[in-house]
Amino acid sequence: MQPSMGLRTPPVRSDAESVPSATKMQIENLSIFYRDFRAVSNVSLSIGAQRITAIIGPSGCGKSTLLRALNRMNDLVPGSHAEGQIILDGQPLYARNVDVVDVRRRIGMVFQRPNPFPKSIYDNVAYGPRLYGVRSKSNLDELVEKSLRQAALWDEVRDKLHQSGLSLSGGQQQRLCIARALAVEPEVILMDEPASALDPISTLRIEELMHDLVKDYTIIIVTHNMQQAARVSDFTAMMMIDEHRAGRVIEYNATRIIFTNPTDRRTEDYVTGRFG
């Protein structure tokens, strides 16, 4: 039996490095604390615009914590605070007069387990735009269709937009969540292990989708699946816990280098499966 879903493995984007990319997000000396405990230590990364950057590392090394700091979702954890700075298109995100709602609009997030709201498919996607004042039905209809098309879900749900988001399959639900995130027209999309709860075909679909999305958005993905990071990303950051149990980025380079000839011994051990 061969799979005949019209899927192909995503092509290697060889131009990803030869065409230099502007820096979309600059992470400077970022440390994240939970009360007194330093969970992430002194991370500095340059995230390229319209590129896919992967963050890999063994469990508990702070990947998700780092990701959540990028759209200030960490603020919701009581006792959590951050030091250092994140600069998005020249504007600092951790500053006194920054509107967190605006940050989360510009930086969207997709989670590990698909989490559609218990509403209709239409209302799920329209939730974000409605938050920001879009009221007219025609505008919403347009936005909903556009987002669902971008998430490669439109054809499957166009006739049942009124049905609950929960009536979809796992892979479809995740694409719905992606459409929901896209509906507010963000600039950066954060993905926290977006395919780890999905079957292999859905996973490949999501990866294919990422390749389409990256033309318009900057994507940062946390994944514990190394092959996925290798398949999908242009740049990879390797994280590991130091002796104080704080997560650090120990190597950051083009993906092809990280997976064929990494510099740090620990990265080599991790990607070859000798550790972690």
């Binding site: 190394m226 092959q227 997976f259 064929t260 000839n261 080599e268 990607v271 070859t272 499966g273």
Partner: protein, 227 residues
Amino acid sequence: MIRKTFETELKQAKDEMLVLGSMVEKAIIDSVTALKSRDLTASAKVLAGDTEINKKRFAIESQLMILIATQQPMAHDLRLLASILEIISELERMGDYAKGIANINIRMGEAPLLKPLIDVPRMAQKGADMLHRALTAFVNEDIELARKIPVEDDEVDALYNQVYRELMTIVIGDPKTIERANWLLWTAHNLERFADRVTNICERTVFVATGALTEINDTDSEFWKQK
């Protein structure tokens, strides 16, 4: 140890490659020995041996493909497996050189040798020795050794030059000997190419260890400039 099975399979792949290497070493020595002593039966054996070499090469290749598909090798492991694939391809062609020499012996049939073979066996010996050490260096990831071996190719080239001059002299003296001279020249040529391929194997050793793929000792161009 994590990936114990994989480690074992990697070691197996290397061992199989070494076995193939020794088959090729034996083939080149045997083919020249058979030529020297005009032993047509021995040459027939070399031909049969080449079939075995080809079979083994494809067997190793299949094993490696399975390993690559199922184990998702990265970084060093990936370079290692990719290099073994390349090396067994080289070894197979080196085996073909031995086959060529065996064929020459058979085609020469009853005709006597033009001159006693001295340099040609030396070339074969040198080539086989270089191959042996190059494969050892690969398995041990000995970059130092790998960088030194290609230099010895110059010796083989020098021997080839000598054979060439001697045969030219004979042919100029007696043009009727051109066919037999041709056979011998072709034999020497095969041995010279044999030694050249060893350099490729040494380049692979450096690649696996460092990730850099460069030419070592590109003196062949020097050689042709001299002519």
